[in-house]
Protein backbone atom coordinates (compact mmCIF):
# COMPACT_ATOMS: atom_id res chain seq x y z
CA UNK A 1 0.00 0.00 0.00
CA UNK A 2 2.91 2.29 0.66
CA UNK A 3 3.96 2.14 -2.99
CA UNK A 4 0.58 3.52 -4.12
CA UNK A 5 0.97 6.43 -1.73
CA UNK A 6 4.43 7.14 -3.13
CA UNK A 7 3.00 7.12 -6.67
CA UNK A 8 0.21 9.51 -5.67
CA UNK A 9 2.67 11.88 -3.97
CA UNK A 10 4.96 11.94 -7.00
CA UNK A 11 1.94 12.75 -9.19
CA UNK A 12 0.96 15.54 -6.80
CA UNK A 13 4.49 16.99 -6.93
CA UNK A 14 4.49 16.93 -10.74
CA UNK A 15 1.05 18.57 -10.82
CA UNK A 16 2.12 21.32 -8.44
CA UNK A 17 5.25 22.11 -10.49
CA UNK A 18 3.12 22.23 -13.65
CA UNK A 19 0.61 24.46 -11.90
CA UNK A 20 3.23 26.98 -10.81
CA UNK A 21 4.87 27.16 -14.24
CA UNK A 22 1.79 27.18 -16.47
CA UNK A 23 1.50 29.86 -19.14
CA UNK A 24 -2.05 31.02 -18.44
CA UNK A 25 -4.15 31.07 -15.32
CA UNK A 26 -6.76 28.59 -16.56
CA UNK A 27 -4.31 25.71 -16.87
CA UNK A 28 -2.68 26.71 -13.58
CA UNK A 29 -6.00 26.45 -11.74
CA UNK A 30 -6.85 23.14 -13.43
CA UNK A 31 -3.43 21.71 -12.57
CA UNK A 32 -4.11 22.54 -8.94
CA UNK A 33 -6.96 20.05 -9.28
CA UNK A 34 -4.38 17.29 -9.77
CA UNK A 35 -2.99 18.02 -6.32
CA UNK A 36 -6.44 18.17 -4.73
CA UNK A 37 -7.79 14.96 -6.22
CA UNK A 38 -4.50 13.17 -5.52
CA UNK A 39 -5.04 14.21 -1.91
CA UNK A 40 -8.52 12.62 -2.03
CA UNK A 41 -7.10 9.28 -3.20
CA UNK A 42 -4.38 9.44 -0.53
CA UNK A 43 -7.04 10.01 2.14
CA UNK A 44 -8.95 6.96 0.90
CA UNK A 45 -5.78 4.84 0.99
CA UNK A 46 -5.08 6.03 4.55
CA UNK A 47 -8.58 5.03 5.81
CA UNK A 48 -10.00 8.52 6.25
CA UNK A 49 -13.33 8.49 4.33
CA UNK A 50 -14.75 11.54 6.12
CA UNK A 51 -11.90 13.68 4.87
CA UNK A 52 -12.19 12.24 1.37
CA UNK A 53 -15.86 13.26 1.14
CA UNK A 54 -15.15 16.78 2.34
CA UNK A 55 -12.06 17.27 0.19
CA UNK A 56 -13.65 16.10 -3.07
CA UNK A 57 -16.57 18.51 -2.73
CA UNK A 58 -14.32 21.37 -1.58
CA UNK A 59 -12.03 20.82 -4.57
CA UNK A 60 -14.96 20.96 -7.01
CA UNK A 61 -16.29 24.14 -5.38
CA UNK A 62 -12.86 25.78 -5.44
CA UNK A 63 -12.32 24.98 -9.12
CA UNK A 64 -15.79 26.20 -10.05
CA UNK A 65 -15.51 29.42 -8.07
CA UNK A 66 -12.05 30.24 -9.33
CA UNK A 67 -12.85 29.60 -12.98
CA UNK A 68 -16.33 31.19 -12.96
CA UNK A 69 -15.34 34.30 -11.06
CA UNK A 70 -11.63 34.99 -11.44
CA UNK A 71 -10.39 33.52 -14.69
CA UNK A 72 -13.37 34.32 -16.89
CA UNK A 73 -13.40 37.95 -15.78
CA UNK A 74 -9.67 38.61 -15.80
CA UNK A 75 -8.10 36.66 -18.60
CA UNK A 76 -4.50 37.58 -19.16
CA UNK A 77 -1.47 35.76 -20.52
CA UNK A 78 1.98 35.97 -19.09
CA UNK A 79 3.61 37.63 -22.04
CA UNK A 80 7.22 37.02 -21.19
CA UNK A 81 8.92 34.63 -18.85
CA UNK A 82 9.75 35.57 -15.32
CA UNK A 83 12.71 37.88 -15.45
CA UNK A 84 15.16 36.02 -13.25
CA UNK A 85 18.34 34.59 -14.72
CA UNK A 86 19.01 30.87 -14.81
CA UNK A 87 21.78 31.17 -12.23
CA UNK A 88 19.26 32.60 -9.78
CA UNK A 89 17.03 29.56 -10.32
CA UNK A 90 19.93 27.17 -9.84
CA UNK A 91 20.88 28.89 -6.59
CA UNK A 92 17.30 28.77 -5.31
CA UNK A 93 16.93 25.08 -6.08
CA UNK A 94 20.30 24.41 -4.40
CA UNK A 95 19.24 26.27 -1.25
CA UNK A 96 15.91 24.42 -1.11
CA UNK A 97 17.63 21.05 -1.55
CA UNK A 98 20.03 21.84 1.28
CA UNK A 99 17.10 22.80 3.53
CA UNK A 100 15.26 19.57 2.66
CA UNK A 101 18.34 17.44 3.40
CA UNK A 102 18.96 19.22 6.71
CA UNK A 103 15.37 18.75 7.85
CA UNK A 104 15.38 15.09 6.80
CA UNK A 105 18.60 14.39 8.67
CA UNK A 106 17.17 16.04 11.78
CA UNK A 107 13.76 14.39 11.65
CA UNK A 108 14.99 10.84 11.11
CA UNK A 109 15.51 10.53 14.83
CA UNK A 110 12.33 12.29 15.94
CA UNK A 111 9.67 10.82 13.66
CA UNK A 112 8.66 7.22 14.10
CA UNK A 113 8.50 4.99 11.05
CA UNK A 114 5.42 5.00 8.85
CA UNK A 115 2.62 3.02 10.45
CA UNK A 116 4.27 2.60 13.85
CA UNK A 117 2.13 5.15 15.61
CA UNK A 118 2.04 5.07 19.40
CA UNK A 119 -1.55 5.81 20.35
CA UNK A 120 -1.53 7.44 23.74
CA UNK A 121 -4.18 10.12 23.46
CA UNK A 122 -6.41 8.39 20.92
CA UNK A 123 -6.64 5.27 23.06
CA UNK A 124 -8.76 7.15 25.58
CA UNK A 125 -11.08 8.40 22.83
CA UNK A 126 -11.52 4.95 21.35
CA UNK A 127 -12.19 3.31 24.71
CA UNK A 128 -14.75 5.88 25.81
CA UNK A 129 -16.64 5.92 22.50
CA UNK A 130 -19.79 4.23 23.95
CA UNK A 131 -19.97 7.07 26.45
CA UNK A 132 -20.36 9.62 23.65
CA UNK A 133 -22.85 7.39 21.83
CA UNK A 134 -21.40 7.98 18.37
CA UNK A 135 -20.37 5.02 16.25
CA UNK A 136 -18.25 7.23 14.00
CA UNK A 137 -15.29 8.13 16.18
CA UNK A 138 -14.35 11.23 14.16
CA UNK A 139 -17.80 12.76 14.67
CA UNK A 140 -17.60 11.78 18.33
CA UNK A 141 -14.37 13.72 18.70
CA UNK A 142 -15.61 16.70 16.68
CA UNK A 143 -18.90 17.14 18.55
CA UNK A 144 -18.39 15.52 21.95
CA UNK A 145 -14.81 15.44 23.18
CA UNK A 146 -13.60 18.53 21.36
CA UNK A 147 -16.80 20.47 20.68
CA UNK A 148 -15.15 23.67 21.87
CA UNK A 149 -12.80 23.44 18.86
CA UNK A 150 -15.82 23.17 16.58
CA UNK A 151 -17.36 26.29 18.11
CA UNK A 152 -14.13 28.17 17.41
CA UNK A 153 -14.07 26.84 13.86
CA UNK A 154 -17.63 28.09 13.24
CA UNK A 155 -16.60 31.49 14.57
CA UNK A 156 -13.62 31.61 12.20
CA UNK A 157 -15.90 30.70 9.28
CA UNK A 158 -18.32 33.53 10.12
CA UNK A 159 -15.41 35.93 10.44
CA UNK A 160 -14.07 34.95 7.02
CA UNK A 161 -17.50 35.46 5.43
CA UNK A 162 -17.82 38.91 7.04
CA UNK A 163 -14.35 39.72 5.73
CA UNK A 164 -15.31 38.72 2.17
CA UNK A 165 -18.49 40.80 2.33
CA UNK A 166 -16.56 43.78 3.69
CA UNK A 167 -13.85 43.66 1.04
CA UNK A 168 -16.27 43.24 -1.86
CA UNK A 169 -18.72 45.92 -0.70
CA UNK A 170 -19.32 48.86 -2.98
CA UNK A 171 -17.72 51.71 -1.11
CA UNK A 172 -17.61 54.35 -3.84
CA UNK A 173 -21.31 54.53 -4.52
CA UNK A 174 -22.05 57.55 -2.35
CA UNK A 175 -19.45 59.70 -4.08
CA UNK A 176 -21.68 60.19 -7.12
CA UNK A 177 -24.29 62.26 -5.30
Amino acid sequence: MEIYLVIMLVLMILGSINSLHAKDLMSAVISLGIVGFGLVISFLLLYAPDLAIVQVVIEIITLTTTIAVIVSATYELEKKKIGYSSGFYAGTILIFTVIILMVVSRFTNILSYFGQHVMRMADIYIKSAPESGSANLVTGIVLHFRAYDTLGEATVLVTAVIGVLTILRHSGKKKDN
Partner: protein
Protein backbone atom coordinates in the same frame (compact mmCIF):
# COMPACT_ATOMS: atom_id res chain seq x y z
CA UNK B 1 -20.98 34.09 -18.43
CA UNK B 2 -23.97 34.13 -16.08
CA UNK B 3 -26.76 35.95 -17.84
CA UNK B 4 -30.15 36.63 -16.22
CA UNK B 5 -31.68 34.18 -18.69
CA UNK B 6 -29.30 31.37 -17.72
CA UNK B 7 -28.25 28.56 -20.04
CA UNK B 8 -30.35 26.59 -22.50
CA UNK B 9 -33.58 24.88 -21.44
CA UNK B 10 -32.02 21.39 -21.47
CA UNK B 11 -29.39 22.34 -18.89
CA UNK B 12 -31.97 24.22 -16.82
CA UNK B 13 -34.44 21.33 -16.65
CA UNK B 14 -31.80 18.71 -15.85
CA UNK B 15 -30.34 20.90 -13.11
CA UNK B 16 -33.83 21.41 -11.69
CA UNK B 17 -34.09 17.66 -11.30
CA UNK B 18 -30.57 17.07 -10.00
CA UNK B 19 -30.17 19.91 -7.50
CA UNK B 20 -32.91 18.84 -5.03
CA UNK B 21 -31.47 15.34 -5.06
CA UNK B 22 -28.03 16.68 -4.17
CA UNK B 23 -29.60 18.79 -1.41
CA UNK B 24 -31.39 15.75 0.01
CA UNK B 25 -28.14 13.78 -0.09
CA UNK B 26 -26.45 16.55 1.89
CA UNK B 27 -29.13 16.38 4.59
CA UNK B 28 -28.74 12.59 4.71
CA UNK B 29 -24.95 12.88 5.11
CA UNK B 30 -25.44 15.40 7.93
CA UNK B 31 -28.04 13.46 9.88
CA UNK B 32 -26.32 10.08 9.60
CA UNK B 33 -22.95 11.59 10.49
CA UNK B 34 -22.65 9.69 13.75
CA UNK B 35 -23.17 6.29 12.11
CA UNK B 36 -21.42 6.48 8.76
CA UNK B 37 -18.67 8.57 7.14
CA UNK B 38 -19.75 12.16 6.80
CA UNK B 39 -20.91 14.69 9.33
CA UNK B 40 -21.89 18.30 9.46
CA UNK B 41 -19.00 19.69 7.43
CA UNK B 42 -19.36 17.25 4.53
CA UNK B 43 -23.15 17.58 4.44
CA UNK B 44 -23.03 21.36 4.55
CA UNK B 45 -20.57 21.57 1.68
CA UNK B 46 -22.69 19.18 -0.42
CA UNK B 47 -25.79 21.30 0.25
CA UNK B 48 -23.87 24.42 -0.81
CA UNK B 49 -22.84 22.68 -4.04
CA UNK B 50 -26.54 22.16 -4.85
CA UNK B 51 -27.09 25.90 -4.49
CA UNK B 52 -24.05 26.68 -6.63
CA UNK B 53 -25.30 24.34 -9.38
CA UNK B 54 -28.64 26.14 -9.42
CA UNK B 55 -27.00 29.57 -9.50
CA UNK B 56 -24.69 28.67 -12.38
CA UNK B 57 -27.40 27.08 -14.51
CA UNK B 58 -30.44 29.21 -13.78
CA UNK B 59 -30.36 32.98 -13.68
CA UNK B 60 -33.58 33.51 -11.77
CA UNK B 61 -32.28 32.06 -8.50
CA UNK B 62 -29.36 34.46 -8.60
CA UNK B 63 -31.76 37.40 -8.96
CA UNK B 64 -33.73 36.12 -5.99
CA UNK B 65 -30.63 35.59 -3.87
CA UNK B 66 -29.33 39.05 -4.79
CA UNK B 67 -32.39 40.80 -3.44
CA UNK B 68 -32.83 38.49 -0.46
CA UNK B 69 -29.28 38.04 0.72
CA UNK B 70 -30.34 38.67 4.31
CA UNK B 71 -31.92 35.22 4.43
CA UNK B 72 -28.52 33.56 4.05
CA UNK B 73 -26.94 35.88 6.61
CA UNK B 74 -29.80 35.27 9.04
CA UNK B 75 -29.57 31.47 8.76
CA UNK B 76 -25.81 31.59 9.27
CA UNK B 77 -26.07 33.78 12.36
CA UNK B 78 -28.99 31.81 13.81
CA UNK B 79 -27.22 28.48 13.39
CA UNK B 80 -24.07 29.58 15.19
CA UNK B 81 -26.24 31.16 17.91
CA UNK B 82 -28.17 27.92 18.40
CA UNK B 83 -24.89 26.01 18.59
CA UNK B 84 -23.87 28.32 21.43
CA UNK B 85 -27.24 27.75 23.11
CA UNK B 86 -26.63 24.00 22.85
CA UNK B 87 -23.33 24.48 24.68
CA UNK B 88 -24.92 26.53 27.47
CA UNK B 89 -27.74 24.00 27.82
CA UNK B 90 -25.09 21.36 28.39
CA UNK B 91 -23.63 23.57 31.11
CA UNK B 92 -27.02 23.91 32.80
CA UNK B 93 -28.65 20.52 32.32
CA UNK B 94 -25.90 17.89 32.15
CA UNK B 95 -25.03 16.04 35.31
CA UNK B 96 -21.35 16.81 34.98
CA UNK B 97 -22.03 20.53 34.35
CA UNK B 98 -19.41 21.17 31.67
CA UNK B 99 -19.55 23.36 28.57
CA UNK B 100 -20.96 21.19 25.74
CA UNK B 101 -22.03 18.52 28.23
CA UNK B 102 -24.21 15.88 26.60
CA UNK B 103 -27.54 16.40 28.31
CA UNK B 104 -29.58 13.97 26.22
CA UNK B 105 -29.49 10.20 26.85
CA UNK B 106 -26.79 8.46 24.78
CA UNK B 107 -29.07 5.66 23.63
CA UNK B 108 -27.98 2.43 21.96
CA UNK B 109 -24.82 2.53 19.90
CA UNK B 110 -25.50 2.21 16.18
CA UNK B 111 -29.09 3.45 15.99
CA UNK B 112 -30.28 6.65 14.35
CA UNK B 113 -31.65 8.28 17.50
CA UNK B 114 -28.61 7.92 19.71
CA UNK B 115 -25.62 9.89 20.78
CA UNK B 116 -27.47 12.65 22.66
CA UNK B 117 -27.20 15.97 20.88
CA UNK B 118 -24.68 14.81 18.26
CA UNK B 119 -27.24 14.57 15.36
CA UNK B 120 -28.68 17.98 16.29
CA UNK B 121 -25.21 19.49 16.37
CA UNK B 122 -24.38 17.90 13.01
CA UNK B 123 -27.49 19.45 11.44
CA UNK B 124 -26.70 22.89 12.90
CA UNK B 125 -23.11 22.76 11.64
CA UNK B 126 -24.39 21.64 8.23
CA UNK B 127 -26.73 24.63 7.92
CA UNK B 128 -23.97 27.00 9.02
CA UNK B 129 -21.39 25.70 6.53
CA UNK B 130 -23.97 25.66 3.69
CA UNK B 131 -25.00 29.27 4.34
CA UNK B 132 -21.38 30.44 4.55
CA UNK B 133 -20.27 28.81 1.31
CA UNK B 134 -23.32 30.00 -0.62
CA UNK B 135 -22.88 33.52 0.73
CA UNK B 136 -19.23 33.63 -0.36
CA UNK B 137 -20.14 32.44 -3.87
CA UNK B 138 -23.04 34.89 -4.22
CA UNK B 139 -20.87 37.79 -3.05
CA UNK B 140 -18.15 36.96 -5.59
CA UNK B 141 -20.67 36.58 -8.44
CA UNK B 142 -22.41 39.87 -7.59
CA UNK B 143 -19.07 41.71 -7.50
CA UNK B 144 -18.07 40.26 -10.87
CA UNK B 145 -21.39 41.19 -12.49
CA UNK B 146 -21.28 44.76 -11.22
CA UNK B 147 -17.68 45.12 -12.36
CA UNK B 148 -18.38 43.95 -15.91
CA UNK B 149 -21.32 46.31 -16.38
Amino acid sequence: MISPHGMTIIVKKICQFIAPTIFLFGIYISVYGHLSPGGGFAGGVIMASAFILQILSDGSLLEKLKSERWRLELSESLSIFSFLILAVLGLLLAGTAVFFGNFLPPGKLGQLISGGFIPIGNLIIGIEVCASMTLIFVALIIFKDEESE
